[in-house]
Symmetry: C2
Subunit: 133 residues, 2 copies
């Protein structure tokens, strides 16, 4: 496996390993939030992936988005590949709700993450690991 | 062709018609910014697309991102599908530079668009229409 950027590692919990991507939970209780990290070395931009891996990533993003929609009943799923702070290619898949703290703006760079109460985190991890296995 | 959301139509200029997507220039002189709109009816989420169209969209995003990188020498390309304001599925592909007005945050919801001087817009449209034809 490619090394995970230390900041990504610090901000997330592992959920699943898919054929291409690690699936991570972003530790921000303000939003149901997944991060996909394609497990190939030296990726920064989407176009750094081989086309077959890119197609695989797209299907993994769609699966993550659809599962998040089903699990949360979100009004909208936001998908983003920014990488202005952490260079290693990673894709955010975030469940958004009308009236959430950043709505209708983006979640990135808005406010520091809200810590999960440990029991809420444990429950979410258990549920999501099962749903996304 | 599927109808283009009136707000997308008002905020953009047409650049090209690709096999799946309309390619649009976002009229914000602060950032070199493309928007891809898959030309299918009733799309809101990425997972509303058929898998073959989704693969096609991914290749079109990669092409747009790579061309923007080449044209601008950007430090990073940001790709996002948000849709919190405009529901019609559309994908932002934005060239980002260290020190640009929103760096390292996202461009969305940051500040009102900066109008292009007409001659700058005309030149950019001509250049990008050729590069992205």
């Amino acid at each position: 496996m490619a090394d995970l950027d230390p900041r990504l590692a610090a901000d997330t919990e592992a959920i699943a390993q898919w054929p291409l991507s690690r699936v991570l939970l972003m530790k921000d209780a303000a939003y149901p939030w997944l991060i996909l990290v394609p497990d190939r070395p030296n990726l920064v931009e989407l176009f750094d992936l081989e086309p077959t891996d890119r197609a695989r990533l797209t299907e993994e993003i769609a699966r993550a988005a659809q599962t998040l929609k089903r699990l949360t009943g979100a009004d909208k799923i936001n998908v983003g590949a920014l990488g202005n702070v952490v260079a290693q290619l990673h894709i955010h898949v975030v469940a958004r709700f009308r009236g959430d703290p950043a709505w209708p703006g983006p979640v990135w760079g808005k406010a520091p993450p809200v810590a999960y109460p440990p029991e809420v985190l444990a429950k979410r991890l258990a549920q999501w690991r099962e749903a996304l296995a």
